[in-house]
């Protein structure tokens, strides 16, 4: 089997330089095809709170890591899935670092409302239930938001999310339940149509 990025010079009779150029071209093609999807995933995982600088930073880090670790990609996962997993880890690290900064220097940084609204350099979030839900998602801890995004927005099954986050399925279900509860709490009692509230709780 030819591994996706380790192309052997012997297989095509090409020189090492040609193989390397081919490898780079292949990576650039794949990066171009996946860029928008990974940017959207990072945006969702951040609670739609990334400014252009952070968004560029994170997506570039994802692809730089993918290029540097290309030899680790095994043929049993699609390249797209593999990069998705790198993105989840990279965004997780960036968001946890942001949470730490907020804990340490909280008073000096913009609050989650401002960040989620993209007040610094993005468009306004708008009004309505969607904007309220985005704001609430932006206020959650990353660990809670991550499972909600992967399961509900990215459409991954619980087993898949558990595997991606290296959790047992039971731990994942517990985390999902906690995330839904926290989302309910963040949205507050005034949210009459709180989507995270179980149907039986509704009047």
């Amino acid at each position: 089997m030819i591994r996706p990025f380790i192309l052997h010079a012997a297989s095509g009779g090409s020189s090492r330089a040609e193989v390397r150029a081919e490898e780079r071209q292949l990576f650039e093609r794949r990066m171009g095809a996946e860029w928008a999807r990974i940017a959207r995933l990072a945006h969702r995982l951040s609670g739609w709170s990334l400014g252009p600088a952070d968004a560029d930073d994170i997506v570039q880090d994802v692809f730089l890591a993918a290029w540097q670790r290309r030899a680790d990609h095994r043929g049993d996962a699609s390249w797209s899935t593999w990069v998705h997993a790198i993105a989840v880890r990279t965004v997780g690290r960036a968001m946890r670092s942001r949470e730490r900064r907020r804990r340490w220097f909280g008073r000096l940084l913009p609050g989650p409302e401002l960040e989620a609204a993209g007040a610094a350099d993005g468009p306004a979030p708008g009004d309505g239930a969607g904007a309220a839900l985005r704001l609430a998602m932006g206020r959650l801890r990353h660990a809670d938001r991550e499972v909600l995004v992967l399961h509900y927005l990215e459409g991954a099954g619980t087993d898949e999310v558990a595997e991606r986050l290296e959790l047992t399925p039971e731990a994942l279900r517990a985390r999902l339940s906690r995330a839904r509860r926290r989302l309910r709490e963040v949205m507050g009692p005034e949210a009459a149509h709180d989507p995270a509230r179980p149907a039986e709780d509704l009047p």
């Binding site: 780079r24 990576f27 650039e28 990066m31 171009g32 860029w35 928008a36 940017a39 959207r40 990072a42 945006h43 969702r44 739609w48 990334l50 400014g51 252009p52 600088a53 968004a55 560029d56 930073d57 997506v59 570039q60 692809f63 730089l64 290029w67 540097q68 993209g118 350099d121 993005g122 468009p123 979030p125 708008g126 309505g128 239930a129 969607g130 904007a131 839900l133 985005r134 998602m137 909600l148 995004v149 509900y152 927005l153 839904r180 989507p195 995270a196 509230r197 179980p198 149907a199």
Partner: protein, 172 residues
């Protein structure tokens, strides 16, 4: 197995919220060379930062040792090292990082001025990347200079150009 009703409700609400969200910000994909260059710049900067932090730690330890030798631990012979060369080294590493980065940006400018579209693309990407601070500012300045050079070479808006159209061919 179908999802429970409140699960579906949450999925649908999140989906609506996502559709109503602004598009992800940021620029498009750079070339792989630009991506690698950014990785190198960050590594060099991080290396300079680590040395600066280590030097500050050393300075602090020496200060503690001289201020209250008993409080720091068993008495050992502290070599008489002046910390100023260490701090000078840290500062030099930072300077070298900045010089190296600036050199890379200038090299891109020279190649772009020589007509390399790839170099110009990398310079534009670097100018739009907010993460590399001084390099981004330098790239923007050099890009502006490049634009000015190109404007001089190919004047627009008819400045200095004969507005008479080229003849389309011999009339029949």
């Amino acid at each position: 197995m179908s999802a429970p009703p409140d699960d579906r409700r949450l999925a649908s609400a999140l989906d609506d919220a996502d559709r109503g969200a602004p598009a992800p910000p940021g620029s498009g994909p750079p070339s792989l060379a630009a991506l690698e260059r950014r990785g190198r710049l960050r590594q060099v900067r991080r290396g300079g930062g680590v040395i600066a932090i280590a030097a500050t730690g050393l300075l602090w330890a020496v200060h503690l040792r001289s201020a209250a030798p008993e409080a720091v631990g068993p008495r050992v012979t502290v070599p008489t090292v002046s910390v100023s060369p260490v701090l000078a080294l840290a500062s030099r590493v930072q300077e070298r990082a900045a010089e190296g980065a600036a050199r890379e940006v200038r090299d891109l400018y020279v190649r772009a001025a020589g007509g390399s579209r790839a170099a110009r693309g990398d310079l534009e990407w670097l100018a739009s990347a907010y993460t590399v601070g001084d390099e981004a500012a330098l790239a923007r300045a050099l890009l502006a200079r490049l634009d000015a050079r190109e404007a001089d070479a190919h004047p627009r808006d008819g400045a200095g150009v004969d507005p008479t159209p080229e003849p389309m061919g011999r009339p029949r």
